[in-house]
Structure formats: structure tokens, C-alpha cells
Amino acid sequence: MRIYISFFLLTVFISIQSQAQKRDTLKKDTSTKQLKEVVITGTRTLKSLQQVPIPITRITAEEIKKKGLVRLNEVLSEQTGITILDDPHGQGIQIQGFDPAYTLILIDGLPLIGRTTGVFELSRITTNNIHRVEIVKGPTSSLYGSEAMAGVVNIITSEPAKGFSGGLSGRYGTNKTVDVSLNSAYKTDKFYISGFANRYSSGGYTLQPSSGIPTVSPFEGYTFNGKTAYRFDDNTSVKLSVRYYTNDQDSRFLVDTRYGAGKGTEKDFNIAPVITHRFSKKDVLVLQLYRSTYKTKSDIRYEDNGEVYDETYFNQTFNRAEIQNDYSLLDNLKITAGAGGQYETVAATRYTKQQSFTSGYGYFQADWIPVKQLDIIAGGRYDAHSVYKSQFSPKLAASYALSPKLTILGSVGKGYKAPDFRQLYLNFTNAEVGYSVFGYEEANAGIKRLQQTGQIETVLIDPSTLKRLNAESSTSFNFGFRYKPADKLYWTANVFRNNISNLIETAAIAIKTNGQSVFSYFNLNKVFTQGIETDLSYQLFKPLQIAGGIQYLEAYDQDVLNQIKAGQVFTKDPETNQTRVLKRSEYGGLLGRSKYTYNVRVNYLDEKTAINASIRAIYRGRYGYKDTDGNGIVNRDDEYTKGYVLVNASLSKLFMNDAIRVQLTAQNLLNYKDSLVILNLPGRLIYAGVAYNFGGK
């Protein structure tokens, strides 16, 4: 992404893009801008949002500010077709029925690392210094490689406007949650430098007040972001971005009858220098370097005697060098080609030693516009890896403008997710229960070690015969339209189907003498997800905009469907507890997937008084979260949560020629809670905020 932002600095596109949002732009009427809007994430080249043949959503900083939102999880939770999952490992997103591990998260086009069992905690990302968020749905491994199976979320940070500019903003409210940001920048024709700092902290909350145990413990996080760029001449420029995030979180919980408490720290550091050179109008080369580190440390001790309960660390690094060339072969044919190398390491308490990956890749894309209405994009990426099988991820996409108002688009592509360090190298034995889990590469040595100490009763699968762990992969189809009959109305729809194979699951490979199992990882399941998503916004009359979106989703395990067909899946009648054969219609699909989700958004903007009122209702239909009748699948009503509605609202007013914004924000106004099942809903949250911006333009 940085590539393109640099590209911006060099090209005529600068005029479209550089109206940076240093000043609040609440009063601007955005509904007419749709056709001119550009996106970059779907193709790694700038494309108009109306033309790009891939389902993509673009959320501007202005929209986010109007809603009073400050963290990425808050922003994404209100998007059609996106669900924030309640997971003990963090707030991750579900796109097209995929778990959070299958969506790549980027900042300015560069991947963020640091996931816990595949979940990337989205509240780590502040949205106070961004220009926009782009969400691509459907596999994008053809450009980005591993993890981009469900889609890509790309956070594009803002570029400073000319001159000296700056601002500060703060939001405070329920649970002593504070979000404060400070930014400043200076820009000339050839040079800019900008700095940003943010503090995000909270007193946490508990859904079980009598327990004395917090559901979310108090935390204190800081983000620092610095960027600088220099343009030597019309053809060559350099840019450097640095980002640092640190978060301290207390924790306290029950260990049998004793309390354990302590502190956990996470640190995330990224540095990304880039050189952009234009050989000619037709040929632009970008050399990008990137290093990212993610470290966590936790020290939990028993409260009564101070003995160590759990002391862990996790250190991950990611290094990349990449070169990309954009070449306009013909006026209507653009070629993008790139190649890169990556070196990744991890060292952690649960790994035998420091482990590393080396990988190399090349990608290619042709963007061809044979006739004005038709845009065809064909591309692919080849990833060669030191540990798992090489992957080729092709993609073909096309859009056709039936009229200037209506574009239809379709794409087919492959996505993959590489086995992660955990699945390959984990070496973990649960101290309390006594089971062990070994990554694929560790299994042989791990079993031998246990055998030598006489801990193995029977070996179920000889680890030397284990099949090499392969990447999880999907083949996906997306088909939809964008319809914009007038400036007032914008309607999109997308039908999707994802066939996913080789899902990595754990299975027992041996029984220990203590009766516990030894687990390792296997490519097992085949699942599919399919559904339809549609979103419509309409300017009812000048100040009032109404909008809404719906997603219908089905997500099933193919093996379970086959078993049901064979009459081999059973349930119990809750009244008699007698077994009966399960019907296909009773199968509720994969855990955590709501069949129906929808949202309704209303925005009222009074230009005279500069008052904006926004209210949104987000419904998440019931979803399976457990299996109580013991057949391993969701089928009975008591295995589902209840469906629920969250109502979020915001009221703001601008003062002093738009320089100051005063805002009241409420989340979960109806105070919906499910204290036993849904732990990421703390109840009603009320915030007051103020922001001041100066300079720019």
C-alpha cells in the first residue's frame, strides 16, 4: 500500500487523494463522490470503486468520526457481512463464515503479525490516524499470499496536508475507558514528517460481579506512529514509516481455590522504508522493506504466597523485502509483477527452540480493459516455503458496466493459509490435566522423549508416518453487482461460495500412561460456506440518510453432511432421552456462524447547525456455540445463543469553523448482555469526546 501512497506523491492522482482529513469534513456531502472513489487493496493498483471487479468496502475516516468510533473492532462490527466474534483470545472478525485466522490484516498494505490461536485482537488498532479502511471479501492470496483466504482488511493511514497541521482528540466514558490522540505534521512540496500518539486504556469490566474476577482486566495501551517522506525529483521518492504499540494488562483469575494474578505485556513494532522510482510514465518500480516484531510476556503468580503460576513469553519477527513493478504495456493493459523474500522467526515458552521460516514468492497481475465497459483481471502468486508445500494461488475477476449506473462483477480464485508456527512447532504439556500437544515437526521427537521417560501407554499413529502438514486452502466464487441509479442511492450485492479443504485440526496420536492423550495436527476437514450479502444506502431527503445491509450465511462441514446422509448422526429427544436419527434440516452448521445478520443505519446531518446524529442497529442472529447432546454438532435449540440487537448512536456538533468537534457516543444502548455466553459485550457504554484540529489545506 505504501507503494501506492508513494506513487501518489509522484503522479497526477495526488489531486484526487491528498485532501487529507486534517480538518473535520463533516459538512461535505460524500454521497456524490462514490464514482470517483478509488481503492487499492483488491488489486494492489489504484482502481475506481465502481469498476474494480472484486467485492470491496471502503470506510472513510469521516464516516468513522461521525459515528464516534476510535478502534478498529468498533468500526468493523458495524459493517454488513462482518461479525466480531466473541473469543477468549480476542476480538477477531468473521468474513463469509471464515474464522478470524483467515483474514489478513494490513496497515498501509503491510501485514500485521501477533495472533493468539489465529485471532488478531482488532482493538490494538486505533482509527484516529487513518484515512480509510478497505475491506476485500473473497480470497486475495493471488496478491498477498497466506492468510488472505476470507479477505483482507487494509488500514490506510492518513497523509498530512500541506503546511503545519495538528490536532488532539479525546474520548472518555464507561469503565473509565480513555482514548486520547495527539497528532502533528509538517509538509512542504518535497518533504513531510508526521507524528501520532495514542493512549487507549480501560478499567475493564466484569459480567459476574459476585466472582471478583474481571471478564476483561484493566489495560493501558499506547500507539506511536511516525512517517516521513522525501521526494528527490518527479521520479524518485523515499518514505519511512514506524509504528510502535505497547499494551499492559493486569489479570486475575481463580486457579482451583486460589487466586492467580499478574501482568501481561504485548509489544508490536513495525518499520517500513520504501523507495519509489518512475522510469517513465508507464513504468513505476517500488522497493519495499519491512520488519515487524511482536512480543508478549506474562508473569502470573499465586496471590497467597507469590509463587509462580505461569510465566511465559512469545517473540515473533517478520522480515520482508519486496519489489513491485507496475508497467502499462498498452493503454488498456496494465501489468503488475512483484517478487519478495521473507524470513520469520518465533521463540516462545511453548517451543523447544527458536524456529524460523524462509519463503520466497512472485506474483503477477494483468489488468485488461478490452472495451470500455469490461475490466478483466487475471493474476496469480507462487509461494515457495522452507517448511510446507509450495502454493500457487490464481485469481480471475471481471466487471462489466451494463450501464453507467450498473456494474456486474464476478471472480474466482484460490486462497490459502499456511500452517502456523503453533501447528508446526508447538511443544506443550498441560500441567494440570496432563495432556500434550505437539506441532507436526515436533511430534516424532516429542513422542520419543515421552517414551524414554515411560509416559506413553500406546501409540495410536506412528509419528514417523504422519503426512506432511499442508496449507489449508479454498476455492471461492463471488458474483454481484453495484448499482447507482442516482447520487441518492447506492446498492450492492454479492453471492459467495467458498470450498475449503485441508482444514487443520487436532487429533490424538498416542495415549499417555496417565490416561491423557498426545495430540498433533492433521489436515482433516472439508467445509464450505455460502451466502449472499447486500447493502443499500439512500439519501431520503437532504439531511437524512438511511442505509441497511443483510447477510445470509450457510457454513457446513461436508463430512458431517455425508454422515447425516448415511443416517450416522444422532440426537436425543430431550423429553425421553431416547436416540433418534438426525435430519439434515436440523444440522445448524459450524459453530459461531449466524445464519442471519443485518444492520440498519440512519444519519441526520443538519448543515446549518453542523449537528450530526447517527444511530445504528446491528442484529446478529442466533448461532451455535456448544454441543450438549453429545453428537459433536449443533442441532438442538439449547445449543444456540439467542439472537440480539446492538444499538449504537452518536451525536456531534462542530464549532469554530469545523475546527472543534464535541461528541456524545453510545454503544449497546439497549444494554444487551449474555453474561454466561457472550463475554465481549460489556453492556451499555457511554462516551463523551472532543476533538480539535488545525492547519492543513
Binding site: 490435566v433 495432556y435 448422526v569 431416547q578 436416540t579 453429545g630
Partner: protein, 201 residues
Amino acid sequence: MNKLTTLSLAFSSSIILLASCSKNNNTPTPVTSKLTTKTVADLDGSAGTVYYSLATGAQITGADTATNKWDIKFKSTSIFVNSGTSGTGTTQAQVVSSSFETLLTAPADGYKADATGANAITGWYTYTATTEPQHAILTVPGKILVIKTSTGSYAKVEILSYYKGNPNTTTATFADLTTRPASKFYTFRFAYQGDGTTSFK
């Protein structure tokens, strides 16, 4: 890792109990076949191990528990057959995936005697741990125990409940540990084929 906890707890229960009453609901059996079908309600294992004869459809107590007269015994969450490490008999068993009604013939082979750490009958229940209803033993659907008794007769057994009164386990009353019925009361139904064939018709 809840599942792992579940398994560990499931395999490690070890309280010895004794039995008392059983109630039989006789259903008429066809004349042509010697098939007896019964539902046994609340066989009481709350005081220790409880022994049962599928052939006679009655509980076995006293000195007879040391003989071949019983076929299966219940001890907390474990079910044993009268053979190997569990008894003097030659009863064998296996667990078949089916509904009770649709299992019309006993498998010809695949039967096992009890051995240390490897009972013939496993996997008939799950332990919920901290999932609602918490800390409950729930019977797994589609687990039909097929027993080949010491006399060479076949029987199929479905365990219905581990709690007194065969309660609906999806209710709030059951979820609440203070109102949940007492455990170790076994309700099960079985069909015993007295003619020595594998037919359950």
C-alpha cells in the same frame, strides 16, 4: 481444551457404590421371537456398584455379584461387563453407532472383554465441565451397547440418563446445580434376545 478436561474427568471417576431398586416396564414380546424389551428406570447406583442381569431383567445383589449371573454393572460413570478384569464370566460387548430401533441385528464380531484401562464399553457419555449445563454427565446419542452375555445371548442397551427421574437436561432446573436431580441413577432401555440368535426383531 474443554474437551480434554472432559475426557480426563470421564476416564478418572472412581467412587464405589451399591445398588438398591429397579423398576421394570414390561412390554409384550412377540411369540415367534424370544426378544424381551424393557426400560429400566432409576437403577440406583448412588451407594456403590450396581449389578444387572439382562437375561432375567433384574438387579443382582449379594453373593451372586461374584458369579456369572450378572451381565453388566454400573459404577459411577463406568459400565463394566462380566469378564476379564471385571468379573468371572465371559460377557463381551461393543458400542455400535445406531439408534435403538434401527439396530435389528447384533454384529457378528468385534466384541471385547474388559481389560485394565480398556473397558469394552466407553464413550457413552460426555462431561460438560464449564459449558452449560455445567458439570453434567450427558448420555451421547447413537451409542448402542451390544452385549454378548456369558450364555452366548445377545442384547442391545441404550443408556438414557445418569440422573434420577430421567430428567430433561435442557431445562433451567437441570442446569441449576441446586435443583438438579441426584446422579448415579441409571435409566436405560434394552432388548434381550433369548433364542441365541443375533436378531433384534
